[in-house]
């Protein structure tokens, strides 16, 4: 699988664009899994209104500080505000949706 740098979609009329950043450290099984999971969730719940930026900390270590990245993979929802962080391989869709404020915490 190829991690694409940008997955852009146009703003859909019914909601805001989600600006997401996925921090990984190299192409590890965990980061690949996280990206696959994320892609799937976005396609299902945010079709046409999301943007994913992948940041590989192995290549850009200095970027870890800005978003206070500690764990990888870390998904950062930059928009809409406030900033949200979800760490892990995003294998629990339910929790990812809660984390992205797409579903109310039960």
């Amino acid at each position: 699988m190829q991690l694409s740098e940008h997955e852009t979609a146009t703003q859909s009329p019914e909601g805001q664009t989600y600006s997401l950043r996925l921090y990984v450290a190299g192409q590890t099984p965990k980061s690949v899994l996280a990206f696959t999971n994320l892609k799937q969730i976005c396609e299902q719940h945010l079709l046409g209104r999301y943007q994913i930026e992948i940041i590989d900390l192995m290549e850009n270590p200095q970027l870890a500080r800005g978003d206070q990245i500690l764990a990888v993979p870390t998904l950062v929802r930059r928009l809409p505000e406030p900033i949200k962080k979800i760490i892990g391989d995003l294998s629990n869709t339910e929790r990812v949706l809660v984390g992205l404020d797409l579903r109310v915490r039960q």
Partner: protein, 516 residues
């Protein structure tokens, strides 16, 4: 930071200039000097090079300060840049915390001698789903280390991660990996940890960092606070095992390791005058041994301080630096009183040869007194030190504490070859026992001053109870206070002399006292 006088065990002092060796001595195990006064002596050369050391203690015990001092000293004095990864306070907070100690963190960061990375973990902001690792932390640390070429790393306090992340299992295995990784990087790391109930740290960090563990403690006893430091563990190295008092003041941290001393002081043969010619005669004609410790004991008003003033005056006349600790009078009082018997110490004070340190004993705990006296000695580097009266210090602590403290102090003075005179105020003749058991065995020379009454006249008397290693007069002789000082009456010196065997314990003192 002034170093040098507290040269203990012949151990090398942390060099204060850049470019000198930063490797301490200590057998085969390479060590890295902390530059913290005292700590490098206890650990015989510093922390294990290239390995992590754990510093644990309760809140406010000085962990962060110790860690930062290690970093700053490394950057400033040992040409070892450092990385500070802080988990509790941000860069600005840390910088302002230590600014009062003269540490300019922003300047060090600017000079590329220090990298600071503040890691903030807020549990409420983080959702966890599935597997993760802490590679992000590794990346940041690695980046910081590379940026400045760091040889030293401080993690303060990594346990905060347990509050920020839910998955303990991942966290623990990642911490294990982190400490292993730090070793691979070859950096000398210092990791701080909060003291836990019944364990060294709350999260059991001692399981992971097991090369060296330092425990800091901050106790308040009788409203007096004392800080103590103990090296709990040091794999592959000898280290002092006692609890050592330490002090945090404007100069930073200093630890007092003096009780770790073996009896190794030199025993100089040259002599110094007591300032009273007649007394010198009683001491086999030449006075005290240089570097020895002299106890002058007596009840109130027997002339102890006067004898000390003579000694100070004589030393200053020889051009020697004198440091005088006063625990009863102010310097002005003492100057005035001594002028009345014709000893004018003021010129010496004005010329800087004589320095006074007056303090109320109750102002600090014993340890603090010890540390401040130690520092004053280190700063002033006197040849002669007077403590007047040492007994006032005894009101501050328990019996054992006082003894331990005086032992350390006297050991230290002897090592530095400082001739010390301690005066001891005895409330009544019977109480000589107390002084005796506390400090007499530490004393080389013991002079007892006593008043007795003949008819309606007070007669002042003086005798040398003991003086190790010299033939001294065994006679009690009478003296008077004149306007030119203490004057021993004629005939006193023409007495039989004895040579003291080197005796320890109190039996001899007690027996002699019974005779008087």
């Amino acid at each position: 930071m002034s170093l040098g006088v507290d040269d203990v065990n012949g151990q090398e002092q942390p060099p204060s200039g850049a470019g000198e060796s930063h490797q301490g001595r200590g057998g085969d195990l390479p060590k890295t000097l902390t530059g913290i006064r005292g700590l490098d002596e206890i650990t015989r050369g510093g922390l294990p090079t290239g390995r992590p050391t754990l510093v644990c203690g309760g809140p406010g015990s000085g962990k962060t300060l110790l860690a930062l001092t290690f970093l700053v000293n490394g950057a400033l004095h040992f040409d070892e840049p450092g990385v500070l990864m802080t988990f509790e306070e941000n860069e600005e907070e840390i910088a302002s915390d230590v600014a009062s100690l003269g540490f300019d963190l922003p300047e060090l960061v600017k000079a590329q001698k220090l990298a600071v990375d503040y890691v903030r973990v807020e549990r409420s902001e983080i959702e966890e789903t599935g597997e993760y690792d802490l590679e992000g932390l590794f990346v940041r640390l690695d980046h910081a280390i590379r940026t400045v070429g760091a040889r030293r790393v401080v993690l303060d306090t990594i346990e905060s991660l347990f509050a920020g992340l839910k998955n303990d299992t991942i966290l623990r295995s990642e911490l294990r990996r982190l400490f292993r990784w730090l070793k691979e990087q070859g950096v000398t790391a210092l990791i701080t940890g909060e003291r836990g109930d019944g364990a060294l740290t709350r999260q059991g960090l001692e399981e992971y960092v097991s090369d060296a563990v330092i425990l800091l403690d901050h106790r308040v006893h009788d409203q007096v606070s004392t800080r103590r430091l103990r090296v709990v563990k040091y794999r592959g190295s000898h280290h002092g095992t006692n609890e050592y008092p330490f002090l945090i003041d404007a100069d930073g941290i200093s630890v007092l390791p003096v009780s770790s001393l073996a009896l190794q002081h030199e025993a100089p043969l040259d002599r110094v005058s007591s300032g009273v010619a007649h007394l010198d005669e009683m001491l086999s004609g030449e006075g005290y041994y240089r570097g020895s410790t002299i106890l002058v004991s007596g009840t109130a008003g027997t002339g102890k301080t006067s004898l000390a003033a003579h000694f100070l005056d004589a030393a200053c006349r020889r051009g020697e630096r004198c440091l005088c600790f006063l625990f009863e009078e102010s310097p002005q009082q003492l100057l005035r009183n001594m002028r009345s018997i014709g000893i004018d110490l003021e010129p010496w004070m004005a010329s800087g040869l004589l320095q006074f340190h007056a303090d109320r004993p109750s102002r600090y705990g014993l340890e603090t007194h010890l540390v401040t006296m130690h520092q004053a000695v280190a700063d002033f580097r006197p040849a002669v030190t007077v403590i007047d009266p040492v007994t006032n210090l005894m009101t501050v602590g328990t019996y054992t504490d006082v003894q331990a403290m005086l032992t350390r102090l006297i050991d230290h003075l002897k090592t530095a070859n400082i001739t010390a005179m301690l005066t001891s105020l005895m409330p009544g003749q019977g109480d000589i026992e107390r002084t005796e058991t506390t400090i007499s065995s530490l004393m080389d020379t013991w002079i007892v001053l006593a008043n007795d009454q003949v008819g309606n006249r007070h007669r002042r008397g003086l005798y040398v109870l003991k003086s190790r290693g010299m033939a001294h007069s065994n006679e009690q002789c009478e003296f008077v206070m004149t306007n030119h000082g203490l004057d021993l009456l004629e005939g006193a010196a023409a007495t039989p002399r004895v040579v003291d065997e080197v005796e320890y314990g109190s039996a001899e003192g007690g027996a002699r006292h019974a005779v008087v």
